[in-house]
Amino acid sequence: MQAPPPLRPRRRGIGWAQRLEIVALSGPAILVFVSFVIFPVLMAAYYGFYRWKGYGVPTNFVGLDNYKTILQDTAFHEALWHNAEILVLSLVLQGPVAIGLALLLNRRMRGQSVIRVLIFVPYVISEVITGTAWALILQTNGAANDILRSIGLGGLAEDWLANPKLAIWTLMFILTWKYVGFAVILFLAGMQNIPAELAEAAAVDGASFWQIQRHITLPLLGPTIRIWAFLSIIGSLQLFDLVYIIWGQYVASTAGTSTMATYMVVEGRNAANYGYGNAVAVVLFVISMVIALIYQRFVLRRDTEGALTGGQ
């Protein structure tokens, strides 16, 4: 923000006209945002103390009972564990793949712009379409196993979706397919902010392509990678759509792909236990927030006065 222009002498503080402008311009956005984002989250904390079917005013106050049930429910433990698996695997699978692809695509090559568009296509397609398509492809008599059989690898044909040993990996594959393009685009954008002179100077000094990437590109890409990791972590914790669409409400837990969010919907809305569902929402919110705050405090902090905000 710049200093106020000295053209018109201004009183200290701001006048009522400006106050009115600020309220008139930002009021509607704040009103909608607080009503439909902040208020519901606060209400979840209130409803979470009740056993409640969702009709009328909740009256059956049960204190912390809902939370006790959640923390003792093995189904929730499993869901939490799956979220943790998804979180870690997303980082270790998508991160290197996306960085590698971005490095490849960052070189000048024919068809580069076409590839950049195509790699983004899965990200633009809705979760419902992604889920429906992959569920059809990966079912036991689907296209994936058909291709394996036709190239003589029929022994590898599997029940990709229902086998509890495989399902989480199938999910990881689909998640990577869907979201890696987003990471690649972010990384490519980050790479384009790195001055070409650095790589050129290193090349003059005899550095190889990989040395340049390792010692110049990757460190300078740090802020972008950390932002991406943050978005990926939040997304993993709140994962719902793809699991619910592919595995539905009953199979997800037996296949080992249930998440906190699918647990919340199944136990809360589908079972009409809205008090309980809200308590799960609170747990999910607290877990996400704690992880987000820790991450911001220890990982993102170093970026705050660095490349992240200095770009503009």
Partner: protein, 271 residues
């Protein structure tokens, strides 16, 4: 780096195959019959049949869902951009106590997608009497799209040179006049970027409509696709045709504005 490395092209080709394979499978599969799909799940159409597509294009359900999705996406986008640019203008060009807190409020919203708030949100919408209505989806969607919109737009509005503002002030243009006559025209690229993102997100939205819309007549396309897929689970070919038709608008929108989307995301990351 001008050296052509065949390895790079091989990887790129493989990548395109993996990325587009499933999409092509959906589109091409819609031109097959169910018996073709049963006999050879991964095969090509032989012969090509257009019946699945024409049948869906002639169905009332499909077009009603297209209509619902369009209304929801257009209204959401227009409202988000309008509310977003107004709030962003305040954040970018007014100095007042609480400005930092206001920015932090919206930025925090970016970290929490609708998942966390969906259960109480449903109750709120129900108490407002908006269950099974499109506004019941639109209003929360506007709220949840605001953070990303504001994060994208604030740097845009800050980048407008202060000389322009000073010149406008000299010409006795009020701050609001400056907003209308200078800021809005100058920030059109940013408005388009955030608008497209809001549109695509709305078009693809699943969780919120799943909670709010239980009546077939109000279904948006994602709900429609899922209902269709479970209703006609034996009719794979028709499901594929329905699915591929429903992804066309998002794909068209994206390919038209791909540069702007990528540019907008870049700006947001640099934020």
């Amino acid at each position: 780096m001008a050296r052509r490395n065949p390895f790079v092209y091989l990887v790129a080709l493989l990548l395109i195959g993996v990325m587009l394979g499933p999409v092509l499978y959906i589109i091409v599969g819609g031109f097959r019959t169910n018996s073709q799909i049963t006999v050879s799940p991964a095969g090509l159409p032989d012969p090509w049949v257009a019946g699945n597509y024409t049948e869906i294009l002639g169905s009332e359900n499909f077009w009603r869902q297209v209509g619902n999705s369009t209304i929801v996406a257009v209204v959401t986008t227009a409202a988000v951009v309008a509310l977003g640019v107004m709030a962003s203008y305040v954040l970018a060009r007014y100095k007042f106590r609480g400005r930092g807190a206001m920015y932090a409020l919206f930025a925090a919203g970016l970290m929490f997608p609708a998942t966390v708030a969906i259960t109480p949100l449903y109750i709120l919408v129900k108490n407002l009497g908006l269950v099974n209505t499109l506004p019941g989806v639109i209003l929360p969607q506007i709220a949840f799209a605001l953070p990303a919109t504001i994060i994208i737009l604030v740097p845009f509005l800050q980048a407008i040179p202060k000389e322009i503002e000073e010149a406008a002030m000299i010409d006795r243009c009020s701050r609001l006049g400056f907003f209308w006559r200078m800021v809005l025209p100058l920030s059109v690229p940013g408005l388009i970027t955030s608008g497209i993102l809001a549109f695509i997100n709305s078009w693809n939205s699943y969780l919120l409509p799943l909670f709010i819309l239980n009546n077939q007549d109000t279904f948006t396309l994602p709900l429609g696709v899922q209902a269709f897929a479970s209703q006609y689970s034996v009719d794979t070919a028709k499901v594929l045709a329905f699915t591929s038709l429903s992804m066309i608008p998002a794909l068209v929108f994206f390919s038209l504005f791909e540069r702007r989307i990528v540019g907008g995301l870049t700006g947001a990351v640099k934020g």
